[in-house]
Structures are given as C-alpha cells and as structure tokens.
C-alpha cells in the first residue's frame, strides 16, 4: 500500500539521530498528492527535521544518521541510483528566513535554470519568459517587473519570501517543502503567503511546518501532529482540530503545552 500513487511522500520506520540524540523515532506517514499538509507540534518535536529528510538536506551535516525508508512519488530516495541534484530539483524548499541570493531579482529566478542547463543552452527570451511566468505565479510581477535588476536582498521580507518560492517554480518541482515560511513575516505578509499557497495547491504537493496553530487550521488540508520525535496523529485538518483522536493532540491544540 506504500506504493499507492495517491501519496506523494511516504515514510516507513524512519529514524534519525543527531550524533547520539534521536530526533525522529519510527515515523510512518503518508502524505497525499496535491494538497497542503501541515506538520505541527511543540518546539523540538522533529517536524523540521522530518521536513528536511524529504530532500535529503540533512545529509550535508555529517553528524546526522538516517535509517528507514522514504518514498517520494513511489521512488525510494535512498536508492543508489537517485541523484541528489535531480531530487532537489523536484523537491523545492522554502526556509524560515527568506534566503534570496545576493544577486539581482532576475538572476535569483533563473538561478535554477542556469544550474541545470549547460550555459548558452537557454536563450535570453526563454529566461525572460520563465522569469515573467514564475513572478506572475507568485504575484510579484506587477510590482517588480521594472526593477528586475535590483538586488533581491533589498526587497521587503514578504517579497523576498515570495521570490524564494518563485525561484523554485522554473524547475517544475512536484513537492514544495515550507519550513515555517511565515515566521519572519507580519500579518499581511503571512496572509499573502497563505493565499499564494492556495494558488499553488493542486499543482504542487505542499508540506508546511508551522508553529502557528491558527495557520495550520486556516491553510492546510491535513495535519500531522508530532511530539518528542514521534508521530502521534494524522487527520484531515477540520477533524484534528475539532475531534482529535489522540488525547495528546487534544492537549496540544488546547494549548496545555507548546
């Protein structure tokens, strides 16, 4: 059943250690295709760690040990024939703090294209079209079309975060991972990013880590609750918040700990 194509991401008995500390304990989740799934839980429960497993970014740090199986779109990402470059191309990630590169807005958006093509393979007009498409999709085109050559690090935080999402789109990712994408933003910025998530839903599978219970409730279709490195509950959002199956979930969403 783990191969059911309806699931974008499935994990089986996933364990992860930071040196001696076990951060993930026997995680089994099935994340559905094309919807927004949020990972919630108190600080240090392993939700960000889990998210970072899905594009194997944890491995950059040598003290991390991972065991178990992670399948993305039916393919085990630990298979020896998996290329990290191709994996990360299909699994984009948005970080807590917007991290535009210190180059122009234009170059930020085409960065991925340049990385994945031999130079001169893509013409100027291809790149221009890709920039317009990606920026339109995240709703930045109107504001930024006349200053594409400005440095991206000078934008407002909200625009920076949208740009970071736009940077992923030209690579045609299938999964977008978001690690507390709104925690550096104000109310307006948060709403803008959430609206963008709804826009992107359906075309991309979105997994979002959030500390903000209200955001999980507003912006996700399904919720996964984690505690102390363990998987506790996975339900449709409406159900989890109204009718939690596990008493620990109930305590958390009522705000007894956090």
């Amino acid at each position: 059943m783990s191969d059911t194509p309806a699931f974008s991401i499935t994990t089986r008995d996933l364990n992860l250690w930071y040196a001696k500390f076990q951060a993930l304990i026997n995680i089994n989740v099935d994340i559905k295709h094309g919807i927004i799934t949020s990972l919630i839980g108190p600080s240090g429960c392993g939700k960000t760690t889990l998210l970072r497993c899905f594009n194997r970014i944890n491995e950059r740090y040598t003290y991390v040990t991972t065991q178990g199986e992670i399948k993305l779109l039916g393919k085990n990402i630990y298979d020896p024939d998996v290329s990290l470059v191709e994996l990360r191309k299909s699994v984009g990630m948005v970080f807590q703090r917007p991290n535009p590169l210190p180059i122009s807005i234009y170059e930020n958006v085409v960065f991925g294209i340049r990385i994945h093509n031999e130079s001169r393979q893509s013409t100027r007009s291809d790149l221009d079209a890709a920039v317009e498409k990606a920026l339109t999709e995240v709703g930045l085109w109107k504001d930024l079309k006349d200053r594409l050559n400005q440095r991206a690090t000078g934008l407002q935080l909200e625009q920076q975060q949208k740009l970071c999402i736009a940077r992923l789109l030209p690579l045609k990712p299938e999964i977008i991972l978001m690690d507390e994408p709104c925690s550096a933003l104000d109310v307006e910025g948060t709403r803008a990013i959430e609206e963008l998530m709804f826009e992107l839903k359906g075309r991309y599978t979105i997994v979002i880590v959030t500390h903000n219970m209200a955001q999980a409730r507003r912006a996700s279709d399904e919720c996964i609750f984690m505690l102390m490195g363990e998987f506790i509950e996975h339900s449709p959002t409406a159900e989890l918040f109204v009718n939690p199956k596990n008493p620990k979930t109930a305590e958390y969403i009522e705000g007894r700990y956090g």
């Binding site: 594009n55 970014i57 950059r60 040598t62 003290y63 990290l84 470059v85 191709e86 994996l87 990360r88 191309k89 984009g92 990630m93 970080f95 703090r97 991290n99 535009p100 590169l101 210190p102 960065f111 991925g112 340049r114 990385i115 994945h116 440095r151 690090t153 000078g154 970071c164 940077r167 992923l168 690579l171």
Partner: protein, 313 residues
C-alpha cells in the same frame, strides 16, 4: 494599591525635593574612581601609539639625507657604501610575486576543499593540525628546511626559486587560514538556497560562495605580502645575496635560478657587515621597506572597506 512607603511627589517639602537625585559622598567617591580608571586605560592606549610614532619619525629623520628618486633607482655604489637600493627592491618584489604565485593557488584551493567539501573526520583533523603547526614553525627552521630541501636535495641551488618556495611554504598556512575565515563568513543560508535548487557544491562555490568571499580572500593574501616582504632568515639561507650587479632601473635583472638581492637582507648587510657605509643609507633602506609594507597594507584595508560597503545582506 498606594503603598504608604512611596513618597508622594506632590507632598514633598521644599527641602525634601531639593536633596532628591543629588550625589552622596559614596557616589562621589565612586565617580572619582571611575575617572581614575578611565584615565589609566586611556593613557596606556595612548602609550601604544608612541613607539610607532617614535620609531617611524626616528627612521625617517635619520634617512632624510639619502632619500631621493635616485636612491630608489640606483644600484649600490662603491662597495655598497653609497648609491641606491634598486636591485634589492626589485629582488624583494620578485620574491613576493613568485612566492605568492606558488602559495596562493595551493592555499586557496586547499581552503576551499577544507571548508566546502571535507567532512569532519580524521583526515580533516590531520590537515587542520598540519596547518596550525606549520604556522607555528619559526622562520629560521623554515630557512634550514628550504636550504636542505630546495637548495641541496632538489638542486635548485641558491636561487630566487629556492627562496620563493621557502617563503611559499611559510605563508601557505596563513593563506589557508584567512581563506577559510573568508569562506566561513558566507552565510549558510546562501548555500542552502543553492543546494535546494539542486546545485552541486562546485556550482554553489562558483555562483555564491566565491563572489561573496573574494574580498576577504584577497585581503588575507595581500596581508601575507607584507609579512613576506620583511622576512630575512629564510631568504638568507636559500637565495638572497649581499650584492648583485644590476643596471639602474632594470626591471628584469634576475632569472628564477639566479641569486638576488632583497631589502631585508640589504638592510642587515648595510647595518652590520659593511664598514664605512654612509650613515643614512640603512635608515633610507628601512624607510623603503616600511613604505612597501605600509602601501600594501593600505591597499588591503581600502579593498576591504570598499568590498564591505558593496555587499548588503
């Protein structure tokens, strides 16, 4: 909620409010100590400047009679007792350029490997240990090593190349350390941004890490120049000589396998080895050596300031 112990602002008597906020004897004592402490620290800091001013002005004043363009361009004359320093100046520049041409590529590439590729394991630790210990080896020991390894074993003889290789080995650890610092100052989030669109490490280095650290790397290398310029022992053992006949203003007097003159060596020779030297000559030589070092350092500082103002994140 009004506590009776809090004095009321409005009912305070004339005399009561007059003594409010004024210093007590204890406070005045503390203030005197504070002032004394501040003056002691300040005077010590000021005293730091004194030796530098004294040293530089003493040398410049003593050098005055000899300082001129001719001094710069002329070779030493009449058994080194008069004339200029051209061969030594060119020799020093030669040694610096050749030494850096060897140590910079090796040092920078090694630093990139250590900082961007190497995993935390025994091999990495061995290299780091080697770098740290190499930096602590006294220059006279490097000199002896250069003599044995390059002059005799590799049969380069006493030559520019032997001396430059010795200097290169001396400067390499510092180049590696400063380059690693420059690389490490590039925020991790930039690297993660690159990895997340599937960039390889080399693409990440090319696109993001190097452009944002090149200033720091250059600064480190330039500062190395000033250290290299002043070294005497390593070149004395391996390729620098007291005297070499060179035409006035000749820019290319030495081959790689020639011996050469150098400013630091020349200064040593004039001050201790040659009888009857015009007294201002050694001081003038020192001024030129200082000038070279200060000019290089000034360039490095300017470059660093300029690059820092340019990067915004």
């Amino acid at each position: 909620m009004n506590s009776p112990r809090i004095p009321s602002a409005t009912t305070g008597t004339e005399s009561g409010s007059a003594s409010r906020f004024t210093a007590t004897p204890f406070v005045r004592k503390k203030e005197r100590r504070e002032a004394a402490a501040k003056w002691i620290f300040f005077s010590m800091a000021a005293a730091m400047v004194l030796p530098l001013l004294w040293l530089v002005s003493y040398i410049v004043v003593r050098a005055m009679p000899s300082l001129s363009l001719d001094f710069l361009l002329d070779p030493p004359l009449r058994g080194m007792t008069e004339g200029g320093i051209w061969p030594a100046l060119v020799g020093t520049i030669y040694l610096i350029v050749v030494a850096l041409a060897i140590s910079t590529p090796i040092g920078v590439l090694a630093a990139i490997y250590l900082n961007e590729y190497a995993r935390e394991n025994w091999f990495h630790r061995v290299i780091s240990m080697a770098v740290i210990n190499l930096a602590g080896v006294p220059s006279i020991v490097h000199a002896l090593f250069g003599l044995g390894a390059f002059v005799y074993a590799a049969q380069f003889g006493y030559s520019v190349i032997s001396a430059a290789l010795t200097l290169a080995i001396m400067t390499m650890p510092v180049v590696i350390t400063s380059t690693r610092e420059a690389l490490a100052s590039v925020p991790r989030s930039f690297r993660e941004a690159c990895w997340n669109v599937g960039a390889t490490r080399w693409q990440t280095i090319k696109a993001v890490v190097l452009p944002n650290s090149v200033g720091g790397i250059l600064t480190g290398i330039i500062l190395e120049v000033s250290r290299t310029a002043g070294e005497t022992a390593p070149i004395m053992f391996t390729g620098a000589v007291f005297y070499k006949a060179v035409e006035r203003g000749d820019f290319f007097p030495y081959q790689l396998n020639d011996q050469c003159m150098a400013l630091s060596m020349h200064l040593f020779a004039l001050s201790t080895q040659v009888p009857g030297v015009k007294p201002s000559l050694p001081f003038a030589t020192a001024v030129i050596l200082l000038g070279v070092v200060l000019a290089v350092n000034a360039t490095s500082i300017t470059l660093r300031v300029w690059l820092r103002n340019r990067k915004k994140w």
